[in-house]
Every structure is written in C-alpha cells, then in structure tokens.
Symmetry: C2
Subunit: 345 residues, 2 copies
C-alpha cells in the first residue's frame, strides 16, 4: 500500500538555527512532498511561511503527517539525546521517520523494535548503499555536462544554487537533473548518496556513481550538489573527493557576502575570492580540468543596494559573472554556466 | 599471558606486487616485531632478504609465527575470496590474524566463531576507533612541529620517507615520533588510525586526534605518514582531510622519478613538480599555511647516474632541496626540513 508522503519536520528548539533552516527550507521550497507542520515547542503557534509550527506530536496529528523528518545537522551529525523521546512519540503515532544524521536509527535496537511494533519505517538518509568502491573512470565517459557547486564555507547555499539552476534549466526545456549528495538533497529529490557518510576511500567512487545515475535518469545537464569547502578545516576531504569523483566540466563558486571566517571555526580565515577561484581550478582533476564559470553570491545579510554593490565588487575582483540567484533570479548565472560548458560529444 | 609477536606475512600470489611489497617491506624494515616467514606458494623455497618464503601454513609452523599479517592492498581493500581458506588454516593453527583491508574479519561470523574456538584474536587494523568526530581545533595548539609527507601518487614512498626521517631524527637525539595513518604504519608502530577507513566527515578529526596522540607520546617533532595524493582520482579526499586535520608546519613532496601518470588510472596525468608544489601550498589550511620544505624523489627505476641527474633536474625545476633518502641517506632532507620548521613556542 502506498500512501502519499506528508512531512512533519522535527525542529525542536532549532527552527532558528541556520543549519537547521537549510533542511527545513530546502524540503519546503524544493521538495516534491508537502511539509504539513513543523514541530518546535519554543515557537509553537507561529507559522513558517504558510506552515504551522506546533508544539508536540499530538498537535501535529490533525495535519495528517505520514513521515517525521529529522533534519537537525549538528557538527559531526550526532543525535541529541533529548530527541529520543520525541522519536518514540512519532513512532508510537504511526509516523515513518527519515533521519539525516550520521547516527542511524535503523541500527538502534530500541527504536527499531518500537518501529516494528507500530509498523513504521525508519529510513536513514545518510546510510551508504552497499558495494561502494573506488571510481572506475567511467564518470569521464558519461554523456552529460556536469556542473558542481563549491564554496567558501558550509551552509551558504551550494545546494540551493544547484536546485535553482536546475529549475531554471528545466524551465527552458533542457534535460536537467539535480544530483543529491547530502541528506537534505536526498529528502528533496528522493535519491542520492550522502557522500560525507561514506568511508573516505570511497567518496570519489560514490560521487562517480551519482553522476552515472544522474545521466541514467535522463540528465544531459547535471547539477551536482556541493558539500563542505576545500578550505574548511573539518570537511575539506569530502569536498575534494566529491570534486574528483563527479568530474565536473564547470564549477560555480558559492560565497556568503561579507564572510571572512569559517562559521563555527574561529581563527580559520576565508581567503579572497580570486585566491579561491585559483585554488579550485588548480585542485580540479588533472584529467578533466574545471574552470569556475560563475560566482553565486549569497547576499542574505545585505540590503538591496549593498547586495548589488557586493555583486559588482566581486565581478571586478574576479573578472567572472557574479549574481545572487535566490535574490535576483538565476537566468544570468545559467547563461554564464551554459556558455562555459563544452558541447556534448 | 603475553607472548612476543612473530609475524607470518600472507602474500599468496602477491609477493611480486609493488603495493603488496609496501606492506611486507615496511614491516620487515621498520617494524619492531620480527617477520619469520612469508607465505606465497608461487615463490615457495625462495627468500625475501633473509626471510624464507614458504608455500603453506603448515610449512610456516617450524618458524614459530604467532600472528598472520594480511597486507594485501587491493584497490578498495576488498578481500580476495580465495583467501578465506588460507585464513581458516591460520586460525586453525592458532595464529592471531592482523588484517589491513576495508573488509573486517572481526565482523565475519564464520571466521569470528572459528577464532573463538581456537582462542585467537582477529585484529582489523583499519577499523576506526569509536567516538570519532570533526576536529576541535586543538591540533593547532599541539606543542610539536608537524611534518606531513604528500605525493604525486600512492605507493611511491610517503610512509618510507616519514619513517626514514623519523629514524634519522631519533639518531640525532631529537624527540621524534612517527605518526601512523594507514594499515602498514599501524602494523609497524603498533598504534594509529587508518584514516582512509574513517567516515569521510571525520577524516580531519581522526588526523587531529593522531597528532595530539603523537605529541602525548613524547614527540615534539612529528612525522605524519601521508596517504593518497591531492591529484589522485580515487583517494584525494583522504589526502586533503589528513592534510587539514594534521595541520603540518611543513610538507615533504614525494614523487617517483619518471612517473607521468597515476598508476592504475590511465589517462590521469601527474602535473609537473612546480605545479604540485603550488597546489599543495595553496591547498594547505588557511589557519596554518604549510610550505613544501623538500622533495623526496624515489629513484628506484633509475641507475645511480640517472638518479643523481634526476635529483639535480628536480632541484633546478623547483628551487627546493631534493634527494632520495632511501638511496642516498636522509641527512640532507632532514636538514632541509628542520631549517624550514618554526621554533617551538
């Protein structure tokens, strides 16, 4: 029996958190399944866009959710212990649970037993598929043009930029596919591999598998969701493995206007944009050199005048097309990327 | 009851393999425990240095091994199915087994049961310790000078160079410690974490933990064993995570003289040495920029005249001190590295 999925997003105490917001906003804005309520007792009674924020699983029941989504992205992805009670409530109310953390619910004996009792499913979005290995080189023969978002930090819009450009490309009639590489992308698109949860030897192999699948899903233009940052003190390995395994023809460099330090890592500076462009091009796979085709500037912290000025400054500094696709539309960045891509053989 | 360890190295059909040789040679040359025999029926009756090559586990018994070492490093680290019978024989003869592959013997129900029956231990050298997470930044406060070997490919001598320079430094009376990051290094030194087997989000965190432990073991000069290569199509993510997590003050770039393509990955070129130097320095952690202090040139494929010419050419091309520490001694490279390191605070 298939029932159409309706999400309850679990955000207890976290709906203000920018990392948390990434998951919630992503699924609300880009997902194909509706979010019917958000659970955060610290904001109960408010709304998030048009979506009610409620205080308990009981309060969610009238909205008819089928699936609780755990999108809390803590550093390292561990489970806050206080959440167990919340998860037990969801399971007891008959909700499936989708979990984006490194800690797998399906391997938790108590929750797995409870889920079996109530006939619900525990789906770990970050659990790697079996049989991963190193890349074969097959990704270099994929009949698609591949674009990867990279960035100066985490949680600054790499996934969003990939999704916006994919949407714009499809609106123009192109055979475009978004390739999910993280838990939120997977929740949005319904497929993918969380490359940050893969054994590090197999990150590039997982990324290769994803672009092959993206092409098999009919994409001749693939937007690979970026992860981490080459200069990030914690996640750079994921970024480089993804970059080499997905073998993009072009990169879009994402940057939060006004940011000079890695978020959550004081003392870790972000180099200037021209240095970041040089680093990414030099670090691209020697067998398929990638150029930065454009810069996506996240201007969320600026008013419109300052946002336009920041775009212009970045263009002058780098000589590249720069825009904020969320704020000003993605047409210009898509034009820039398409003109930088090779023709399909 | 502790018995001193005596290794039987399992190399069935593989003692010619350069990757295999890495493990066998490493443990024989640098390990603190003796290798009493090598098992490879295709070369039975020969010797490897002074060590007998034998054809079966029965033939090994007279040499009194306590521990079988599986060092076969296949791409991706999977177990050749034909080896199961060999492992069963070792266990049945009362040998502990140390395994360097991604496939864990301790999680194999049949072998684990057999081991319990015979009272032997199955040790998976690549099995990550519990509780890994992202780095905290504590590695930047470690009271030690940190040197990481990096390279243009795998299996070209990064571990060997770290071990040789550590040995030379200790011979000079320095408080020097080799920091193992892979299965062979762990077999040699008896501690460490195989960073390539860690969930990719935690590679930098594992590397941080290793330099903290290296300092706690009394090292104020740490030689971190390098892994993979920044330009390697399969393993680059491991390399960058290790580089950022271990936060070296200086790098030694290892290169196989005459190599222009990544081994086993046709069509994947190795850039010129000056480009590799620039890439590594640009990719180093912005909070602790590292310079390439010297180049270790592996001249194993050249005669002595050509080897000296290759060293001179590389010096002219890069302006850096270059030497082959295995062939010509490590004194010169150690001088170069020490002079490039900052004083301890």
């Amino acid at each position: 029996m298939s029932r159409s999925k309706r999400y309850l997003v679990l955000a207890e105490g976290r709906s203000d958190d920018p990392h948390y917001g990434k998951t919630a906003r992503g699924v609300i804005r880009y997902g194909s399944e509706p979010v019917v309520a958000i659970l955060d007792s610290t904001h109960a009674g408010e709304t998030y866009g048009a979506i009610p924020v409620i205080g308990s699983v009981d309060d969610a029941v009238p909205f008819g959710p089928t699936t609780a989504l755990v999108g809390v992205a803590t550093a390292g992805g561990r489970f806050p212990p206080a959440w167990r009670e919340l998860l037990r409530s969801c399971i007891a109310k008959g909700l499936d649970v989708e979990n984006g953390l490194h800690e797998f619910l399906s391997e938790d004996a108590e929750l797995a037993e409870l889920a079996a009792t109530h006939g619900v499913e525990l789906r770990d979005l970050r659990k790697p598929p079996p049989g991963l290995n190193v890349p074969t080189g097959e990704q270099l023969a994929v009949q698609a043009r591949i674009v990867l978002t990279v960035g100066s930090d985490c949680a600054i819009g790499k996934m969003t930029v990939s999704l916006e450009l994919d949407r714009e490309a499809r609106a123009r009639g192109l055979s475009s596919v978004f390739v999910p590489t993280g838990q939120t992308g997977i929740a949005i698109a319904g497929w993918g591999i969380a490359v940050d949860a893969v054994v590090s030897d197999f990150v590039a192999g997982a990324a290769e598998r994803l672009v092959i699948e993206g092409a098999a899903r009919g994409g001749d233009l693939l937007w690979v969701e970026g992860q981490g940052a080459l200069i990030h003190p914690a996640y750079s390995g994921v970024t480089l493995g993804l970059m080499h395994g997905s073998a993009p023809h072009a990169l879009i460099l994402c940057h939060l206007a006004g940011a000079f330090e890695i978020e959550g890592f004081p003392g870790h500076p972000i180099p200037a944009l021209p240095d970041l462009v040089a680093l990414h091009e030099l670090a691209s796979l020697p067998a398929r050199r990638a150029r930065v085709a454009a810069i996506a500037l996240n201007t969320r912290d600026l008013d419109e005048t300052d946002a336009r000025a920041a775009v212009e400054t970045a263009e002058n500094d780098t000589g590249l097309p720069v825009d904020d696709p969320v704020r000003f539309g993605s047409a210009r960045l898509l034009d820039a990327v398409l003109s930088a891509l090779p023709a399909l053989p």
